[in-house]
Symmetry: C2
């Protein structure tokens, strides 16, 4: 249990870092009264949003917690609540820091670029470390209490069910936060533009528009809170699934199963330390490159993580070259060819798998930057296509969005094969864990984005100097890239995590075979089984349907915004002449309500689909085929979801930066016909990259987790 | 062999129908000199296109034929050539009728709507019957020569390889025709608009624009020739694959394998007769509904096909209730659960499977009409979204395109399960065969579209009366729907056909196991095999990459058109003042060259990907895993391709008709801001629905066929 305690200590360090850095950020001056007013309006909106969202989620959460309790027992229900509360807390705290750091970043940018960068990045780093720290504390704490305190066997059903339920809690909040936040931010954005710019003829960031504050709130809601909950969830699911898979596949065969199960926790712990060190390396160099400064932090963390992972593995497992589970017994540990080829795996193999995880992270960052950065062919080609109109801009953007799936897929495929050859399914799980171990640093880079975005808005609205505005613009442009990069990382790691969950599902089926009434022949997962084909097709459908619902929801909610703002202008004429302050909270509350309402059906989709498909197929063709179709559904969601998510997030990012590229003076610059076309592309890309695309991540995992819980429930539940 | 001879006779009847109806169409008056001039220019363009395209394809074809000969033997090489030549011929003849019927349709519309409808539909019916007739003649003729004349065993490798090679020939031409035609038509369309309307300021269908004729040629090239080759290929592949699967799965176990293998041929034959009867039912009713007239023909064919299929099955198999393959031996015929559940299958089961195929056809037609017709929610929602701008139009269109995949997927899944429960994989194959048996009628409805489209253009350019123009517009509007409907049918049947091919692949692997060096454990197609996961991911990538390449190609080729037209205007000033005729053939030849050049890499993708993936995985993990990954790749292409193709074709059709809906006077009508936004959506939808989307069909099948050929070649080839 020592390893677990070390991991807990690292989690605590992350929280302390968060508290300490928060006080640093909050100590900074918040600017003049006008700036404080604007920031206050955004904070007011944030409170309105959080109040409403958490009320609604709490209702759903309580119902689900009761269901988990009834079908699976008390411990999983408690674990579910812990996962849900901490996932919500990660988003809540992140957003709260973000809405306070925005105005301080604008104020700091008055003095110097470095000042603005430091404030914005520190704020992001707080969110990042809290996400990683709280996630690690949740899993490690649960594991410690169950195994260390209550004395449960680490590989027992009790521990496994609790870990899965913890992940479920985190995922359920995450899909709400991601999708709700995504609908919120884009509904406010589109609605504000339609009613403000088009109808009332007031500028984009004008504080007289009640929806403009909602728009600013939306940046924090979607890009900060939603993203934080998503990464928290991915972290919990990945580390949890790695532990579950270790328990299911290796069980008592390992010499020290507790150490092996705790290794992912230790990996998470040491990478929190390397991430914290990395945050202190974010400084502008001589060339003044902001991206360079951020990358300095990222690469420091990645570089330091290599020896850290080696030492952690050695510390946990002792002799790195000893076969895990002991010599010839190893053939039972891992499936298929790998056992024959390697005769089991060693600690060294696991270390290599983790290096693969780090390499995948680096490559995905690089590929996403290529597809969304203004320096490369894809974005330039969209900008060029804008010269010939709206249609050609969108066509080229769609072509790029389709194309952008190719390299990430190849990288993921190679990673799957390489880590599988090294250590079977467990190898894939450890590669995914290493990817997620860097989450603290990656989230820091991402959460920096909405802060600078808001800072730019505040600088504009408060009428600050052009010089200051220039600095916030420079910071913001980089924020666009880091946001896109995180999304590539998030979906890549989500795909690997989902594969690990799928591995847990198939292993679970074998484990539970007798309780589930599965015959001796087992479940036929072969591709030549038509129920598998049907499962794959239905699974592949889910991200499409989910995307369709998400994009339609944005349109409908934006319509609600338009009606509300029109009504505020009509009933309070003082708004337009500046004598009266609009009711920001009302618009925010309306968008919140609309977003919450609109996200219910899409969020139910991944929760209910596995259950419906299982029972439908089981009714027609028996339990075995039901399980086969359900398993195929899970893989179908992963395969199709990966492409839908990457194409949407990369395509959206490319459209966004193609507009920026033109605004930088290319192809006619701001106000040209090309620019108008690029604005259209950007609008199209918005719900792609900020609503539908990123929400596919939690959707993929929720489907898989629900399937695992369904198995546990069908097998007779209360493993407690 | 009697059954085969009957099928051949039906094929001959189709050809006679084509010749007879051609003479009817060509006898009709071709209008005044201006009309004849314009039509002449389109014909000139068509000749230029065909000359160039077939020259290029011939080079590729000869190389591939030699490779087939070397690796598989002489008979497959000859079969390949037959498939290729007839697939090309179907497209060639179809286009030639189409470019002659267009002007005659315009002339007939001068007298009455019924006159225009009759001429246009007859022209489509010629293409339809020739596609079905030639396809049936190719397969039935080959089967007759090999089995009836040369005395080969019907289930021998010689026959199987020859049928697969025949399908390969058809598919290779088809992917060229579909993709090349798709790039051609959209490059000409977009290019003509850019340089004519935008730069030179001349109207859309102005004969002074050298690219406008290329645009008209493109309608025929893409929508007629490309579509005809595609459906020819789907027909050959589906019927051929059903025969191959029957041979592989049942072999000598059936009482009369020759009759069972010939049944798909007979099914195709009788449905040609019902299709011909249906074409005579296309008449305007009292309500004057054109769509109603066309549907009268379609439903007549579908209705008559039910008893026809029953009688054909009874005629071929005798007692419909006798188990096929004989009682208890049946458990070896079909895989897995079905054998236990049904104890084999009967002729009646096969008949039910064919009814399922007919039902799928009807449902897909209905669903596609719902998603692309102006009377329903989807198109109206896009039109409404156009009110708020280009961006919201595209967002709503993308949402609809994603959503439109749901119902077809459910229909296909239910059909798979139902036909599998009835008669296993063979049942799925017969369902697909019944779908394709209606190809003659469906192609007739589709090929009607480009004729009316051209007729409208000719009426406009020749300055005919508004009344005439009104009639051609009415005919054309319906053509848009029928074109969309056919695409839904084509991709649905392609998915089922591909599943049948996949079944043939897995069966083939078992058959060839010893020659292929596969161990006793066989190939592990289980989803928990990571090579299967990798194969699925790589397969799912192919349609995305293919789509990206196709859409980018349209953009680039359109650029070439712009340059050429500028140069013609510059070097020949007489064009603009009407004193000199532009060099239409040059522009057409240029677009052809660009289209052919642009389609090489995308077309190589599905041919080379299976080979590369097999050898790469086999090198890393051994032959078995290579076959597993290859099989998964095939299924990945089907699963992902279905969604990419449906979303693109339905979405594109919906955008197109949303524009038409606004032009009908809704949301401000022609010239309004909403209309401009709808034009953008239509432009985006163009390469979606006419280039990338439909070309996915042959791509899916080519991947599967190449895999089958690879197996045959690896197993030592010359089964002759």
């Amino acid at each position: 249990m020592d390893l677990t305690l070390i991991a807990i200590a690292c989690g605590v360090i992350a929280v302390i870092y968060g508290i300490f850095t928060s006080s640093q950020v909050l100590k900074a001056p918040a600017g003049n009264q006008r700036m404080i007013d604007i920031a206050g309006a955004i904070q007011e909106g944030a409170s309105a949003y959080l109040g409403r969202q958490y009320t609604t989620i709490a209702i759903v959460g309580v119902v689900v917690a009761v269901l988990v309790g009834v079908f699976l027992g008390l411990v999983p229900a408690v674990a579910f609540v812990i996962g849900a509360v901490l996932s919500g807390a990660a988003g809540y705290i992140g957003m709260n820091i973000s809405v306070r750091a925005n105005v301080r970043t604008a104020e700091a940018a008055r003095t110097s670029l470095q000042g603005g960068l430091t404030t914005a990045f520190r704020s992001g780093a707080i969110t990042g470390m809290l996400v990683a720290g709280l996630a690690l504390l949740a899993i490690a704490g649960l594991f410690y209490v169950l195994v260390g305190v209550q004395g449960a066997e680490p590989e027992s059903r009790e521990v496994v069910n609790a870990l899965v339920a913890l992940a479920f809690g985190a995922s359920l909040i995450s899909i709400f936060a991601r999708l709700g936040g995504g609908i919120f931010t884009k509904a406010a954005d589109v609605g504000a533009d339609l009613v403000g710019k088009v109808e009332a003829g007031i500028p984009e960031d004008d504080p007289r528009n009640p929806a403009v504050i909602a728009d600013n709130v939306g940046d924090n809601v979607g890009d900060c809170a939603g993203m934080a909950a998503d990464l928290f969830e991915t972290y919990v699911v990945t580390v949890g699934a790695t532990m579950v898979l270790t328990a299911l596949l290796i069980g008592t065969q390992a010499a020290d199963i507790t150490a092996l199960m705790a290794l992912p926790l230790l990996v998470g712990g040491v990478c929190i330390i390397t991430s914290i060190i990395g945050t202190y390396m974010v400084r502008l160099g001589k060339n003044g490159s902001i991206m360079g400064a951020l990358y300095k932090g990222f690469w420091t963390t990645a570089g330091l993580s290599i020896p850290a992972l080696y030492l952690a593995t050695q510390f946990a497992l002792g002799d790195l070259n000893a076969p895990i589970g002991g010599g010839s017994a190893a053939s039972g540990l891992v499936e298929g060819a790998v056992a024959e080829q390697t005769g089991g795996f060693t600690g060294m193999d696991l270390f290599y798998c983790m290096l693969i995880g780090l390499a995948v992270t680096g490559l995905l960052v690089w590929i996403t930057e290529y597809y969304t950065g203004t320096n490369y062919r894809p974005v330039k080609s969209i900008a060029k296509a804008s010269e010939t109109g709206h249609g050609t801009n969108v066509i080229q953007g769609l072509a790029i969005s389709l194309e952008s799936t190719a390299l990430p897929t190849l990288v993921i495929c190679i990673a799957i094969i390489a880590s599988y050859l090294l250590a079977g399914l467990i190898g894939i799980a450890f590669a995914a864990t290493a990817m997620l171990a860097l989450a603290g640093m990656v989230v820091a880079l991402d959460a920096y984005g909405p802060v600078t975005d808001n800072a730019g808005g505040i600088a504009e609205m408060a009428g600050m100097d052009d010089e200051v505005r220039g600095r916030t613009d420079a910071l913001d442009a980089v924020g666009n890239t880091t946001k896109a990069v995180t999304k590539g990382y998030a979906i890549g790691s989500a795909a690997l995590a989902a594969l690990v969950l799928f591995g847990a599902y198939t292993t679970d089926l074998t484990e539970f075979a007798s309780e589930l009434g599965i015959g001796a022949a087992g479940v036929d997962f072969s591709l030549s089984n038509p129920y598998v084909v049907v499962g794959l097709l239905l699974g592949a459908l889910l991200p499409y349907l989910f995307g369709a619902l998400g994009m339609t929801a944005v349109g409908r909610a934006a319509g609600d915004v338009v009606l509300d703002v029109r009504e505020q202008f009509r009933s309070n004429p003082g708004i337009m002449d500046g004598s009266s302050r609009p009711n920001y909270a009302r618009t925010v509350d309306l968008v919140t309500k609309a977003a919450i309402k609109e996200m219910i059906i899409p969020s139910l989709l991944p929760v209910l689909a596995p259950i419906v498909v299982y029972f439908a197929i089981a009714a027609v063709a028996g339990r075995e085929q039901g399980f086969a179709a359900l398993g195929a559904l899970l893989l179908g969601v992963i395969v199709s979801g990966l492409f839908v998510a990457i194409s949407m997030t990369s395509g959206g990012g490319a459209w966004d930066n193609a507009k920026k590229y033109i605004e930088d003076g290319n192809y006619g610059g701001k106000g040209s016909e090309a620019h108008k076309a690029a604005v259209t592309g950007d609008t199209v890309g918005d719900p792609y990259k900020d609503t539908a695309g990123p929400a596919v991540n939690p959707m993929i995992k929720i489907t898989n987790i629900v399937a695992l819980l369904l198995l546990a429930a069908l097998a007779g539940g209360t493993g407690v």
